[in-house]
C-alpha cells in the first residue's frame, strides 16, 4: 500500500487538522504515514497546505511533487495545485468556493463536492474539512472510516467530544457523495 494526498486551502478551513487525522488514523491501523505541513509565516488567514504519505512499508519522501490525490478547498489552491495532480490521479474540488469546473484536465478523476453547503446542512460550517476527508477516504480506501473516528476521538480534547457525532456525520456525508459521484 502506497498512497499520498495533498490538501490545500486557506488557514481556518481545517486543512491541517484533516491531514493530521488521516495520518494518525493510518498509524492506528498499523501502517506508516508522514504528515508534512506547509503554511505561511503569518499565523492566521494565510494559505495552508499539507501532504500525507501513507504506506504499509517505509514512508519515503514526505513531500510529493505530483500527488496521487488532491483535496482543493479554495480557488487559490485550485489554481496552484490542480495542474500538479498525478496523471490518473484524483482531485476533489470544493465546488462551494471553486467556480472552475476542472475541465482543463481529462486525465484524472474529478469530483466536485459542495462541501460548504453540505457542512451547513449537517449543522456547522466548520465541517467542510470533514466532508472533504470523508470523500477522499471513500475514494482511496486508505483507512477505514472507523479508524478516522477513533483518531478523531484521540485528537479532540475530551470537552469537545460532544461534537463527535456531527463530525462523523460529515465524514459519512462526504463519503456518500463521492460514492455516488463515482458510481
Amino acid at each position: 500500500m502506497n498512497h499520498d494526498v495533498f490538501m490545500a486551502g486557506f488557514g481556518g478551513q481545517g486543512v491541517l487538522l484533516i491531514g493530521n487525522l488521516l495520518a494518525y488514523a493510518t498509524i492506528l491501523e498499523g501502517n506508516n504515514a508522514s504528515y508534512f505541513p506547509a503554511y505561511g509565516v503569518e499565523k492566521r488567514g494565510g494559505a495552508a497546505n499539507c501532504t500525507v504519505v501513507m504506506s504499509d512499508g517505509a514512508v519515503g519522501s514526505p513531500v510529493v511533487g505530483e500527488p496521487e490525490a488532491a483535496l482543493l478547498m479554495n480557488p487559490a489552491a485550485m489554481e496552484q495545485f490542480y495542474p500538479r495532480v498525478r496523471k490518473g490521479g484524483m482531485a476533489l474540488l470544493n465546488s462551494s468556493l471553486i467556480e472552475d469546473d476542472g475541465s482543463s484536465r481529462s486525465d484524472l478523476t474529478l469530483v466536485r463536492i459542495p462541501a460548504n453547503e453540505m457542512a451547513l446542512e449537517i449543522g456547522d460550517s466548520r465541517l467542510v474539512n470533514m466532508v472533504m476527508l470523508g470523500g477522499y477516504v471513500e475514494y482511496s480506501r486508505v483507512v477505514a472510516r472507523d479508524a478516522l473516528k477513533e483518531a478523531l476521538k484521540e485528537v479532540l480534547p475530551e470537552r469537545n467530544h460532544r461534537f463527535l457525532p456531527m463530525n462523523h456525520n460529515a465524514l459519512e456525508a462526504g463519503a456518500a457523495f463521492v460514492r455516488e459521484a463515482l458510481a
Binding site: 495520518a23 498509524i27 508522514s34 514512508v59 519515503g60 519522501s61 514526505p62
Partner: protein, 355 residues
Amino acid sequence: MTKRLFVKGNEAVAMGALEAGCRYYFGYPITPQSDIPEYISREMPALGGEFIQAESEIASINMLLGASACGARAMTSSSSPGISLKQEGISYMAGSECPGLIVNISRSGPGLGGIDASQADYFQATKGGGHGGYHIIVLAPASVQEMYDLTMHAFDLSDRYRVPAMILADAVIGQMKEALDPHPYKAPADLPPKDWALTGSGTREVNKVVKSLYLGVGELEQHNLKLHRKYAQMQEQEVRCEGYELEDAQLVVTAYGSTARIAHTAVRIARREGYKVGLLRPITLFPFPKQAYRDHTANGQKVLCVELNTGQMVDDVRLAVPQAEVDFYGRAPGAGSLPTPEEIFAQIRLHCEVH
C-alpha cells in the same frame, strides 16, 4: 509494546532528550524549532529539571557550558542564525571538552534568509563552525523516530568522547509528523564516569578546572593532538550510515536528512522503471562514513550527491572516493526550492542514460 505515538520531529527530539536524562535546557525562540523549547518547558517541571529561556543564543550556549562543566546532561536548540551565534560557545565547549547537545533545525540563509528547510549548514556543522580547528559530533536524522533515537545516541556519544554533539535537521524533519515508538532509554554500560566534572572541591587535594586556555609551551599543541586522536577514534568506531537497494546499483545516490527521504522515493521510482540505482544515507556526518563510499564505488559505480544547498557534503564524498565519478544535484534553499522525488528521479534517469 508501548503505544506508537504520532508526533512532530521536533517533539521527538525533546522527548528523546528527556528520556535520555537531560534535565537542563537553555534556549531562545526561533522558527522552525520552537516546538522543542515549548515541549520541554511544559514537561520539565514535573521531572524536576531546569528550563531557561535565555536572553540570547549566546547566553544559552554558555549556560549549557556551565551545566555541562558541572556534569549534567544538558542541551540547547536553535536554528541556523541562532546556531551562528552559538559558535563561540561551541568552540569553547570543544576546547574545554564539555559534552552537551546542540540541536540545529536549520533554515535557509545566509543572513535572515527564510524559514524553509535547508542543508546549507553542513559545512558549519561538520568543519568546526567556530574558531580553532575542532570538530563536533554531527548526527543527521531522517525520520521522526530517528529524531528520538539519535538524540539519545548523541548524548551517549557526547559523554563518551567529551565532545559536543549536534543533531542537524531541518524544517522537513522537524515539522513533519510520523509514528514514533518511544522506547525507554538505556545507558550504555561502559559510559565513563564524569570524574572531571565540577562539584565544589570538597576535601579533594586538587581543584577541578574546566578550561580551554593553555599557554605553556607545547601545552596547547598536545591538547589539540588529544582532541584529534578522539576524532580519529570516532572515525574508527562511531560511523553510521544506511544503504537502500545498493547491492547491484550502478549509480549510488547519496543524501542525508530530508533530501535522503526524498531521494529514497526517487530511487524507488527508478527501481520500478528498471534503473540500477541505490541510496547511501550518512547518519553520522561527523565522523563521515568514508569507507561506505569506498565500498560502494569499488567496482566503478558512479555517485550522485543530492543536497538542499549548492554543494557541501559532495566535497566530503569526493575526498572519500577521489577515483570515483561524483556528480552533484542541489537546490539553493529558500521558499519553494525543496526538491521533489520526481525531480530527483529525473536526475537519476539523466545520469543513467547519459553515461
